[in-house]
Amino acid sequence: MDTIASLLKAAKQHGSIAQAAIAWQAKEAQTDVEVTRRMMADRLDVMKESLREGLNPDLRSVSGRVGGNAAKLNAAANAKLYGISAKASAYALAIAEDNACMGKIVAAPTAGSCGILPGVLFAAQEALSLSDDALVDAMFVAAAIGHVIAMQATVSGAEGGCQAECGSAAAMAAAAYVQLMHGTDEQAISACGFVLMNTMGLVCDPVDGLVEIPCVYRNASGAAQALNAAQMALAGLVCPLDADCLILTMKDVGSMLPASLRETGEGGCAACACCHTDVSK
């Protein structure tokens, strides 16, 4: 299960990407399918609690720059019927804000990008009245995609920039959403490809080196981007570039990035002159 091609092959044998991923994980950990699913369901429960905490309007990080915005976006999304993208963004922002405020979260694949996958999952659950079981299946699809990216490239911002963190998280979430919508495995891979193509080159540029700005807002946009990619794939659009190839290219681009754009807090947004005055306003 080290490449997208081998993942698709395993999916054919097992019936779906989700089933292939569950079987692989159970074998890897020398346990059974039931325990494996339960472990993922436990992580889903933690995600639910992070969302609840993250929607608290009074939440603030140690620096005071982050917290409370997810509550605003969520209220607007509820009142103005912006649709599933706004809800997913609000939820992703909530969990990312909770992370910035030392909340308990599930790295997916990293702490800095932890809002994107659950943001999409919970927005979809609400919109489509899905069971937790369906979400657990989708999480295995996401995990399988993330595993391939980690094996072939990297999911670390310090190594590959934000494309490797939020880009990977959104690619995982896009594939998960296709699964929730009963799309085909090929559509899930196309959705993953669309995200990787469209986040190519995104730099990791945290202001003052903290997982706050722009990180929490990249979680919000990452959730919307995941849904956009999934919608294209579900509509029958085929990603024109091969997902395995995109993953290797993402890695190459990551290694071409100067150190200042790989989580050092020196370049990009971190170098905005306004950062050194007062960004808390």
């Binding site: 325990v35 599930v106 595993h147 980690a150």
Partner: protein, 224 residues
């Protein structure tokens, strides 16, 4: 080999896998090396750890880890309060180690009886840690497997004596790193093992001739 729960996981207190979760793991490792309740610690922060520790809660995570908290323990947020309540004194200083990983930390920790441990460790990303030195001995402890750290007098047959006891307990050794300050001087071996070591084994090892101390680092937990 990473599995799917390394991708969706770990469950941790935010905000940073390297600066928070990794720091808590390093603190916990220092406590396990000490083997007793710490009373005092002096912590040197290098590079990125030094620059951003407050915003990431790196200080809270290190203190929490030293108090025995896991990376998903919500008490990490208020670990200073917990430390004050139990009389655990911690101070931080800026350190630099030439050529070291940017997220490097040096910990000197001691218990009420004066037993102490010094370690140098780095948080290398995604919550992964590497302990690079213990009490002046260069080493490599990853936290991927339960680990025995044994200090002993460097004499012939010591490794054989130690590994014979481990074999007798029917435990497989996954990785082993030996280092010594000088021939015939102080030596240390770090052994990553499959499965877990029971207290009987560590007691037997502690009782061997020329073994000074045995620490057991229980990194892995069975899923409940």
């Amino acid at each position: 080999m990473p599995d799917l729960f390394d991708i969706i996981g770990p469950v941790m207190i935010g905000p940073s896998s390297s600066h928070t979760a990794g720091a808590a793991r390093i603190g916990k490792t220092a406590r396990m090396l000490l083997g007793t309740t710490p009373a005092k610690a002096s912590i040197g922060l290098c590079g990125s750890f030094q620059k951003t520790f407050q915003g990431h809660g790196t200080d809270k995570a290190l203190i929490g880890g030293l108090l025995g908290m896991e990376i998903d323990d919500p008490r990490l947020r208020d670990s200073q309060t917990v430390a004050d309540a139990v009389g655990f004194q911690v101070d931080f200083y800026s350190a630099s180690v030439k050529g070291s990983h940017p997220n490097t930390v040096i910990i000197d920790v001691s218990d009420a009886k004066g037993r102490s441990v010094n370690l140098r460790a780095a948080s290398i990303g995604g919550g992964e840690i590497r302990v690079q030195a213990v009490d002046g001995h260069e080493t490599r402890i990853t936290g991927h497997a339960n680990t025995l750290v044994i200090h002993y007098l460097d004499k012939y047959g010591m490794i054989a004596n130690i590994t014979r006891q481990i074999a007798a307990a029917q435990i497989n050794i996954a990785a082993m790193l030996v280092s010594r300050t000088a021939a015939g001087g102080d030596a240390m071996v770090a052994l990553e093992i499959d499965g877990r070591a029971e207290p009987a084994l560590t007691e037997t090892l502690s009782g061997l001739e020329n073994v000074y101390s045995v620490s057991y680092l229980a990194f892995t937990h069975d899923y409940e």
